[in-house]
């Protein structure tokens, strides 16, 4: 820890750069005061920026924040950055991948002014959005028109479609509708050198915005999951699907809380199931049976969502932190479970038919439906998921401390066993940080069955205390170890990390092989001046040589623990 009274001083942009940027957006929309840049530095669930804050590292502070209003503004800003070799970081909420790590004065391009839903096309079932539009906004507008974007990931108002374009994007009804990546029709991007790229059919003027593929190779595919390093999305068109619920979600029966009584139990009032939707909960004896049942259900073609909720049920469905911990200790929620979301998307008879199919599968595979006759108290406690599976709102509240590391590998369902086993091994080796870390070991990991069960996402997490940097560092150790585990067991790329994020891109060359070398070539093509979120997705050779030796050593230690050769 550094001297607690030591100030942290930001770097500033050269004055001619500042003036040039100001000329683009106007004085009102450019900021470089100390308190403004502070609010664009410590990120949400990225442990590294917390540790750097504790250590008073000035490099987490951007030099300047600029707010464009149009694609033209973005293009002009990016061209200025290229002209003066100023690194820039596209920024919406600051959840994960925005942190400027460069030692040079860095510009934040914040998109909060670009927040319009440009068009909802009911005939072609699509919506075109600016980068600051979030899932709650899109869903609300779509639902009024009998349409739906297919679900909401992570947190309704945190996640923006354009941000999620930067990585895979997932939601809890992926089983039917697929990841966001499968639901993008086109993007308009400002490339790192300031050129504008339109993908899909919209690249042909007046052809319309209806098809993912434009002339030639799949340019959007090349840009997806680029973490902002391959350009900035200024417009995104996404697919919509049929919605069979009401135009708006109904009021919660318990009424509205006030600040004075916000924690009163009556306001933690679970919603009834949505119209034309039904949620079934199934408990299993062991992980093998659970995974077999999930596979059968996924492959049967029924249901729109299929997830094992693991320790998240304790977080979401408990009113207090105390209750969360108690329920974890007591294994109140079934260790091995999943829910199935049924919907009448085609007919009123769809739910009864699909329920029959699910029940037949469970009869054959094994498992018990939670019901009024079997663990009714648990079924009742799980009711917050009635909405959460459709529009993610975190149940009653997020009863956890800071969230600093996650293993998020994707893979075939069976690999959940590997994740669970290895997570438990890691806990035994390093020790848990919080009891809730046990979710994924003693409890089932969070398992999303994605895209009709073609693959799954597993999630296990650490919950350190944000005030204690040693706990955060320990969680970071889990992250490094997890990257090694994922590689060792061929678990597949992590959805929100690993091959997309340095230092893993370079330090796990088994992925690819040598994917990082190809990505370096791409970076040279798209970003000849190395200004677009540099060092985020892939290092240049020069950046790799300058990368801190202690981090390289830490990753290599984790590689060694998993029987892999060090990377030099």
């Amino acid at each position: 820890m550094s001297d607690s009274k030591q100030k942290v001083i930001q770097k500033k942009l050269p004055r001619e750069v500042y003036r040039a940027l100001k000329n683009v957006v106007g004085e009102k929309w450019i900021h470089e005061s100390r308190s403004v840049v502070e609010t664009y530095s410590k990120l949400s669930i990225e442990g590294a920026s917390f540790v750097k804050k504790h250590e008073k590292d000035p490099h987490v502070l951007p030099a300047c924040v600029v707010l464009p209003a149009t694609t033209d503004d973005v293009q002009a800003i990016v061209k200025i950055c290229n002209r003066y070799s100023v690194p820039f970081v596209p920024f919406t909420n600051g959840q994960v991948f925005c942190n400027p790590t460069t030692q040079d004065p860095t510009l934040i391009i914040h998109f909060s002014r670009m927040n319009r839903i440009i068009k909802v096309d009911t005939q072609n079932m699509s919506a075109t959005l600016e980068p600051y539009v979030d899932y709650a906004q899109l869903q609300a507008e779509a639902m009024k028109r009998g349409l739906w974007n297919g679900g909401t990931p992570l947190a309704t108002t945190v996640c923006k479609m354009a941000s999620q374009f930067a990585f895979a994007g997932l939601w809890q009804t992926d089983l039917k509708y697929g990841l966001l990546n499968r639901n993008i029709i086109s993007v308009k991007m400002v490339l790192p050198d300031g050129e504008i790229l339109s993908t899909g059919s919209r690249c042909i003027p007046k052809a319309g915005d209806f098809w993912e593929y434009g002339p030639g190779p799949d340019l959007m595919g090349l840009q997806r999951s680029g973490l902002g390093t391959n350009g900035i999305v200024t417009e995104i068109t996404v697919k919509l699907h049929a919605w069979v619920g009401d135009e708006a979600l109904p009021e919660i029966p318990g009424g509205r809380p006030s600040l004075k009584h916000v924690h009163d139990a009556k306001y933690d009032s679970p919603p009834e199931p949505l119209k034309n939707h039904k949620l079934l909960w199934i408990e299993f004896e062991d992980l093998d049976t659970q995974l077999k049942a999930m596979r059968e259900i996924a492959h049967s073609g029924v249901a729109i969502g299929l997830n094992a909720t693991g320790v998240y049920s304790a977080f979401y469905c408990s009113q207090t932190q105390e209750m969360t911990v108690q329920r974890c200790k007591e294994h109140f929620f079934p260790d091995w479970n999943c829910y199935v979301i049924l919907a009448n998307t085609t007919s009123d008879q769809q739910i009864p038919y699909e329920e029959k199919v699910v029940r037949q599968i469970i009869d054959e595979v094994g498992g018990t439906f939670l019901s009024e006759d079997y663990k009714p108290e648990v079924l009742e406690a799980l009711q917050p998921w009635n909405y959460d599976c459709i529009r993610h709102v975190h149940g009653y509240r997020m009863n956890r401390k800071f969230y600093a590391n996650a293993w998020l590998p994707v893979g075939p369902l069976e690999e959940a066993k590997t994740v669970s086993r290895e997570w438990k091994k890691a806990l035994d080796m390093f020790g848990e940080i919080d009891i809730t870390d046990r979710g994924g070991a003693d409890d089932t990991p969070f398992v999303y069955a994605l895209q009709r069960g073609h693959f799954c996402l597993f999630e296990t997490d650490n919950y350190p205390d944000p005030v204690l940097p040693d706990e955060i560092k320990k969680a970071q150790g889990y992250g490094l170890y997890g990257a090694a585990v994922v590689t060792k067991y061929d678990l597949g790329p992590q959805l929100m990390a690993f091959v997309n994020v340095e230092p893993f891109t370079t330090m796990f060359p088994e992925a690819g092989p040598n994917a990082h070398l190809f990505m370096r070539k791409l970076r040279k093509v798209f970003d000849p001046n190395s200004v677009a979120a540099p060092g985020r997705q892939v290092f240049t050779e020069e950046e790799w040589q300058q990368f801190p030796q202690e981090v390289k050593s830490a990753v290599n230690k984790m590689r060694e623990l998993n029987g892999m050769e060090p990377v030099t």
């Binding site: 100030k7 942290v8 609010t39 804050k53 839903i117 709650a136 309704t156 919603p271 207090t320």
Partner: protein, 417 residues
């Protein structure tokens, strides 16, 4: 007990930034402090909830941003001299509490409390408040009201009204009028309506007259804790001395101060009387059959929840029930209501120091009201009525801003009134 409630309990006005260390470090940057609660969102247009972020679009204006600023100040990462602009960031907050509502519900943290504590710290350190607030504080110290009005004028509104002066004759229920209504002659009608309605309903009502002093609410929100403590103590002593069992007030600021804030002040006696907002009292009188509305009032109206009455104190349903009890009233709702209501823009000292921004926020609320199809916005707060009223005037708009009592008086039989 929630995670943060497990920390040692202190009264709010005793707390310093240090007491929020866990909370401000733990800000999850989920951005729900800027947005309407997820499952209540009905449109993109009305999906944001923080007036300051909505207008200025950068994070320091949001609850989350203030948590980050608080963390940096607490840890010495920067000082006031490095960031004089934080005064504007802190004082463009209307203290509407929307950020705190969503953060408490989701992440169990307190961005509004942190902002108010920051304000108090700035004042203690000689940095805050805004110059306009200093005038207001000085006025309260000199005149016992924020509007630089002589004490002798406080009861002018009551000259033609039959209401007891509790200093001269006892009464069961005390009407705490509040400075804004008492001194702004465009709002006298609200006090007059209130006294008339309650007297007609048989309530034994009295007032403090010229002896009433500022409740201290604007001072508390601005962050001048010493002045507020003094006012709280003086008010508690004054009110307890009357011996009344019930206090009723129309102003949500007064209501929150008397009912929620004084008990958070260290080392002051307990206020003996039960404090009611007028809408709660009217609702009770209707239920008891003491208040009836024989006249039809044909009007489509929408209810604007004042933040310090609704979100802060939980009075959502009572005024709606009062309106629904009036024949001909068609109550339609805006998209953002109750705990997710959009602030009028006038609170927290914003109207005093940032009038343009306050007016812009009110204009946005008026737009939302118009979309509901209402002909009039009904509310029960002097600041909301002033701020929305001024905005309507500037827009030259036909929509009306009415006090709840205006509608009630129209609905009551003339012989009774």
């Amino acid at each position: 007990m929630t995670y943060y409630e497990s920390k040692p309990h202190k009264k709010f006005f005793e707390k310093t930034l240090e007491d929020y260390r866990d909370s401000i470090w733990g800000c999850a940057r989920c951005n729900w402090c800027q947005n309407h609660w997820g499952w209540n969102v009905k449109s993109a247009e009305y999906s944001e909830i923080c007036p300051a972020f909505h207008e200025f679009r950068i994070f320091p204006y949001s609850g989350m941003g203030k948590m980050h600023i608080a963390r940096a100040l607490l840890e010495g990462d920067f000082d006031y001299e490095d960031a004089p602009e934080i005064l504007k960031f802190l004082y463009t907050c209307t203290t509407c509490g929307a950020c705190e509502m969503n953060c408490q519900r989701l992440q169990d943290k307190e961005p509004l409390q942190v902002n108010e504590t920051l304000r108090a710290q700035l004042i203690k350190d000689g940095i805050g408040p805004m110059p306009e607030h200093k005038v207001l504080i000085k006025s309260v110290k000199n005149y016992d009201n924020p509007w630089m009005q002589p004490r002798t004028q406080r009861d002018r509104w009551a000259r033609k009204i039959n209401i007891k002066n509790i200093e001269k004759e006892p009464a069961e229920t005390l009407f705490f009028v509040g400075c804004t209504v008492a001194f702004d002659n465009t709002q006298w009608h609200v006090a007059q309506n209130t006294a008339t309605i309650m007297t007609q309903a048989g309530v034994d009502l009295g007032m403090l007259g010229k002896k009433e002093i500022c409740c201290g609410s604007p001072i508390a929100r601005i962050g001048d804790r010493d002045t507020f403590f003094d006012l709280a103590k003086r008010n508690i002593d004054l009110l307890n001395a009357t011996g009344v069992k019930e206090i009723v007030t129309f102003c949500p600021g007064c209501f929150k101060a008397l009912s929620h804030d004084y008990c958070e002040v260290p080392d002051v006696p307990k206020l003996n009387a039960t404090v009611y907002h007028t809408s709660q009292y009217f609702d009770r009188l209707i239920k008891e059959g003491k208040l009836t509305f024989p006249n039809d009032v044909s009007k489509r109206v929408t209810w604007h929840d004042p933040c310090h009455m609704g979100r802060h104190c939980g009075i959502y349903d009572e005024p709606r029930r009062v309106l629904e009890a009036i024949s001909g009233i068609d109550l339609v709702e805006m998209e953002r209501i109750k705990d997710q209501s959009w602030c009028c823009g006038g609170g927290g000292g914003v109207r005093t120091a940032f009038m343009d921004f306050a007016q812009k926020t009110a204009i946005k609320r008026i737009g939302e009201a118009k979309k509901s199809g209402a002909e009039a916005i009904v509310t029960s707060c002097p600041f909301c009525e002033q701020n929305i009223g001024d905005a309507l005037n500037s827009m030259n708009d036909e929509m009306e801003i009415l006090d709840l009592t205006d509608v009630m008086v129209k609905a009551m039989d003339k012989r009774e009134t």
